[in-house]
Symmetry: C2
Subunit: 108 residues, 2 copies
Amino acid sequence: MGATKTEHFTDRQNKIAVLAKALGHPARIAIIEYLMKVNECICGDIVNELPLAQPTVSQHLKELKNAGIIKGNIEGNAVCYCLDEKNIAVLNTYFSDILQKVSKAKCC
Amino acid sequence: MGATKTEHFTDRQNKIAVLAKALGHPARIAIIEYLMKVNECICGDIVNELPLAQPTVSQHLKELKNAGIIKGNIEGNAVCYCLDEKNIAVLNTYFSDILQKVSKAKCC
DNA sequence: GTTTAATATTGCAATATTACGATTAATGTT
DNA sequence: AACATTAATCGTAATATTGCAATATTAAAC
């Protein structure tokens, strides 16, 4: 085994899991926080900011992009990255809903 | 390699990553959604609900508990699980803050 | 068209995750 | 005490992730 049994879960459950998984690494959280600060930037800026090699940063950016957390626009020979509002809103709504439910009912 | 370089990131970044990572699997999302529905339950209930074996469910519960997403209270020979409001609130605030920042400034 | 700059991709080693059968531990029931 | 119930742990196979050096790709600049 070792492979996630995605086929047993709903598309929505898989979608949320993909988004959350993309955020499940401190380097990717750091990238997001940097993007929050500077609004938009290129890969090289992040390489200068983080203690990781360029291929590693590039890989993290790819995962964030595949999950839909960030967008990348080609600008000449560089790529301009920024946060993708839509999917962050999806997560925000998701956690708001959970919190609302949870806060209503205490447990064991 | 293969190990995350947690020491290069802040405690807060690592904390958020741990919480997000715990949610980065559809089975764990399904567990959370089930807990939202029934408010509290024991491991066996989830085993009946999901297409996964008991040890697998137990392992997922352990990860959710270690991350602080759920709480587990011993009740006789069973363990009563429920969502942990506090850390879900942490995530909710985190994504609200990101969304607020992002919605203010369009990018490339 | 050659050089430069910015990223992406490839290949690989180290480590982590996922899943489950078998077993164990702990409490409840008879 | 013997047995049943519930869940955790152990062991292990399959797969995924992380990180980087080396290389490839792409587009600007000269």
